[in-house]
Amino acid sequence: MNASTSVNSSDTLTVSSGRSAETRRPPRKRYVFLMSAPALLGLFMFMVLPFLMALGMSFTDQRLLSPNATEWVGLRNYDRLLNISWLVQEPVSDADNHLKQTADGELVYPRLRSVLRKNPEYKEFKEFTHWSFGDKRVVLLAKDPSFIQSIINTLLFVILVVPIQCGTALGLALLINQKLRGIFLFRTVFFSPVVTSIVVVSIVWSFLYHKDLGLFNHYLNAMSFGLIGPVDWLGDPDWAMPSIVLMSAWQAAGVQMLIFLAGLQGISGDLYEAAELDGAGPWGKFVNVTLPGLKNTTIFVVISTTIQAFGLFTQVDVMTRGGPQGSTSTVMYHAVTKGFREQDIAYGSAISVIFFLAILAIALLQKRFFDKREDA
């Protein structure tokens, strides 16, 4: 009203009626913005802005601590990340055109390093892996072989952990959905790993997995009457990733268990009774009532578990530091190693950008896959 005092009388009427209309109906948009501002500000400062900075940095040669000025390098970081190539090598033969062989009877090929150095086309490339094709040897090259290795490890982890973790969660949910006395205790027990710090869990499981002192090896040894020798769970490249998968599934399954439990409790009891009258046994009921009834829950659980699994870092950092022989290095671990430990923050940024796009694509694909099945 104060604003209207300085204007002439006819205007006063319009202004004041406008004001009174405004007081009757509060400006909703303004409040919405005001109320969500703290959260939006946080999101912007800690998610959006860092991501945009990472995106920008990924096109430079920025290092964490460097006397040199930052320079624009275009797509160099991405080229280093993603560029792969291959070459085919013929075996070396002697003057009589006989193939040279080692003492073990294996064919001899030209030294790869010499070949790569000689050919400017293969500048910066390193061997990622090789395999034989008849007499020839095919060598797969990458500018950053450990990134490619990390991608493969991450995919392996996701492929293993998602079914194991979701399956465990569903199994536990089925168990704790029983109407038994004290079932609340079991719910708490099964959920407790989730509220325990992953660092603590990782350290404890490192002890359990220990080759000489670990509980697992002790039990394995005792139960197999000494037949199964000590397994170097975290030290053997073949076992390290499966060991981390098992521990991660155990630690995180509680969350999915609760979501599945909510889903289970949403299925009408009449359907089970109808199925019982229709002659379905426990398995028949599970396949024909429980699983279809949990479809939407399963979609959510699988997508969220997948996204979570792609971010594997802490367990690796605490338990294996990416080893042995890079067998547990993941994309996230590689990004942190490159970006912070090796201080190449521009390259680390490029890894995170690629990683973000990959997860986005996978989540969208999964959603489309499930949506299609919904329509079918």
């Binding site: 009408s268 009449d270 009774e273 109808a274 009258l277 002659g279 379905a280």
Partner: protein, 379 residues
Amino acid sequence: MADVKLTKVVKRYGDVETIHGIDLDIKDGEFVVFVGPSGCGKSTLLRMVAGLEDITEGELHIDNECVTSVAASRRGVAMVFQSYALYPHMTVRENMGFGLKMAKTDKAEIKRRVDESARILQLEPLLDRKPKALSGGQRQRVAIGRTIVRNPKVFLFDEPLSNLDAELRVQMRVEIAKLHSQLKNTMIYVTHDQVEAMTMADKIVVLRGGNIEQVGSPIELYLNPVNEFVAGFIGSPRMNFFDCDVIAQTDDSLTLKLPCGEVCQLAADVSRSPGMTRVKLGIRPEHLKEDQSGEIRIGVDVDVVEHLGGSTYVYARYSGEHELIIQTGGLSPVRRGDHCDFSFNLDQCHLFDCNGLSLRAAKPVPLHTQAPVAQALSG
């Protein structure tokens, strides 16, 4: 096609007994309705027949075979649920054929039987739809179709029409009655709606508090309720009751003083309860007449009048305190606030002692009102 026989059937949940030793004979091909108020145990009883609840004590025979501890799927029963309980991810065809699929029936045979049931229930155009694409009535028909496909000995219905709107309910009621006359299977139907019970049943079983109050044909229950509860439960609107003082009694009659002071004499079988001082007189709303042709006349103060077109319900007070309902002709001139006289005949009255048991001799039930099965048996 099968008889169902319950012998001293008891249900207990821990220490709480909900069904107290029920004996019941259901003849082959009968349409039996369990009716009663909420919590009377009618659904529990049906679920015990279905095999969804264990029978704590007693025996259940279906088709002369003891099935007390036989699994639900092997009892030869099929059930229609109130919630329809259709499998949401299956088409109508898959829903209907599921029981046969579980029984590992040949695919061609499943198709033949599903098609036949679909024809009976006119579900053919819906066979490839999913339940969410169906209306309530269609879903209920599919749920019924699913039971027909299995060709059970006994059909069980657990309040199947409760989720439908009034019009559809009447329509489905007729369809289920038709289905029964077509299939001639034994059917047990649970409802709390006494109109459904009256219109569909060959035989009504009235339950209260886990006990059977009375078993009989709808008209038998209407004419000869054995106690006050059945008298009040069967018939709509419900029967009016007044307390009356007993002035004199002989072996076969009672002289009563009505609340308005009028004295009348009624035939009654009082051998069971001699020396009564008070009894309850019951008169149905449709037996109170607007004209003065009845033997007993009462003056009432009218509170509310409901004109339904075909009939009129008058809610009134009699002698100041007794509330009563009167059903009269469609265009009754009675208005709210009126004081007017109604009359009734003594032979249409019911009498109940202080324990609620009927004191009147049973009236003969006309043969044409009985179900075909009962007619055949009595014929």
